[in-house]
């Protein structure tokens, strides 16, 4: 009982900290200077339709590199922690097996669509990678004996990670900075092949995230 009261007191204290922040908050009417620069630069310098993509991939590219590193470390940690275990599983229904072997192709195709069109439509490497991992998850759910080749997954993951870094360093050598998009001609605004290196970088991120998440799910599933 005394614990509950202590927790409630803590919550009320937090509320009193947050309340002045919330009641005095003023919503701005215009974009800040930095955001307006990003929006203008996305049109004029990078030829990218989706401003969020240009912020993530180029203007704030180092943050994204850190994020990919965190994801990689989490994969390694989970692989160390969880071992393998056995148990009896019930096979999936025939309808699910038939449908999943057909839907798998369409889901992977949609994932590729998302990360190659990251500069034109919402979405990008992370979302596309998650969709591809979901397709593999569907296969795992429909077939209890499905085994994945971890070597191929790790090869895909490390090669796409390495190429991501290499493109960043090429940008450092050839043009103004790390992960710059202007190492390739920028192309026409609104077409698929435009925005310089952004689609290529996002495709590598998508492949890396997809193989990493497949690895995480497969490790958590056990054998």
């Amino acid at each position: 009982m005394i614990k509950k009261t202590l927790v409630l007191i803590a919550i009320v204290g937090l509320l009193m900290v947050f309340w002045p922040l919330m009641s005095n908050f003023e919503f701005s009417q215009n974009l800040s200077e930095l955001a307006s620069n990003y929006v203008r630069g996305s049109v004029n310098e990078l030829n990218t339709q989706n401003v969020v993509t240009s912020v993530i991939v180029t203007y704030r590219g180092l943050d994204t590199l850190g994020e990919v590193t965190v994801l990689f470390l989490a994969t390694v940690g989970i692989g160390f922690l969880l071992g393998k275990r056995k148990g009896k599983k019930r096979p999936a229904s025939e309808l699910l097996q038939t449908t999943s072997s057909f839907l798998f192709a369409l889901i992977v195709l949609f994932g590729v669509y998302i990360f190659t069109h990251g500069h034109l439509t919402p979405g990008g490497g992370f979302q596309g990678g998650v969709v591809i991992a979901t397709a593999f998850l569907l296969l795992m759910l429909s077939d209890v004996n499905m085994k994945f080749n971890h070597t191929i997954l790790q090869i895909v993951e490390s090669f796409s990670g390495a190429f991501y870094i290499v493109i960043g360093i090429v940008g450092l050598v050839l043009t103004i900075g790390f992960l710059s998009a202007e190492i390739i001609p920028l192309g026409e605004f609104g077409k698929l092949i435009s925005a310089g290196a952004i689609p290529i970088i996002y495709s590598f991120i998508g492949l890396k995230v997809g193989s990493e998440l497949t690895n995480i799910i497969d490790t958590m599933r056990g054998e």
């Binding site: 229904s93 025939e94 309808l95 097996q97 038939t98 449908t99 072997s101 057909f102 798998f104 192709a105 369409l106 992977v108 195709l109 949609f110 590729v112 669509y113 190659t116 069109h117 296969l139 077409k191 698929l192 092949i193």
Partner: protein
């Protein structure tokens, strides 16, 4: 042979989907062809479900007719469910019955099960070899023959021509 047919059909379906996603721009088409080829070659371990489809004029006509039969049954089933839900007495008489099917190909059986689920008052619960177990919201005939006649045979005669 079956596998080759499956690969070609899957490639065509994926290209149609890619064009619907994007447009008929030449850059998009090139990327789509490359992606579809990679995915099709990656999938050779899975079972070739599309290999059973027959490609002659009769089966194509039957599949077009099948779509209209299916849409008619879908609308009928919705009106049926809607009337049951609105009725304050909730007139249901449910049960799980067993029906028999003659179809052999996996895709044909899957489409039959999906069609049964979307038509009036029936829901596929389990598929075991030649028997389907179906939850029926208003059981009118309790033996296998009667249930088969009123649930399955309407679709089966079309699907038998399409999938063989």
């Amino acid at each position: 042979m079956k596998k080759l047919k499956h690969s070609i059909l899957l490639f065509l379906i994926m290209m149609i989907f890619w064009i619907l996603f994007t447009s008929t721009d030449i850059q998009e088409l090139i990327i789509g062809v490359i992606t579809s080829l990679i995915i099709v070659s990656m999938m050779n371990k899975l079972q070739p479900v599309l290999g059973d489809v027959k490609l002659n004029p009769k089966s194509i006509i039957y599949s077009i007719i099948y779509i209209f039969v299916f849409l008619k049954e879908l609308i009928k089933s919705n009106v049926d469910v809607a009337l049951r839900v609105i009725n304050p007495k909730l007139p249901i008489n449910p049960g799980i019955v067993k029906v028999k099917t003659k179809l052999k190909s996996p895709l044909g059986r899957a489409i039959l099960a999906n069609s049964i689920t979307l038509t009036p008052g029936t829901l596929t619960v389990e598929m075991k070899e030649e028997y389907f177990y179906i939850h029926w919201i208003d059981v009118t005939s309790e033996n296998i023959e009667g249930a088969t006649k009123s649930i399955v045979s309407n679709f089966e005669k079309y699907l038998e021509v399409i999938f063989g």
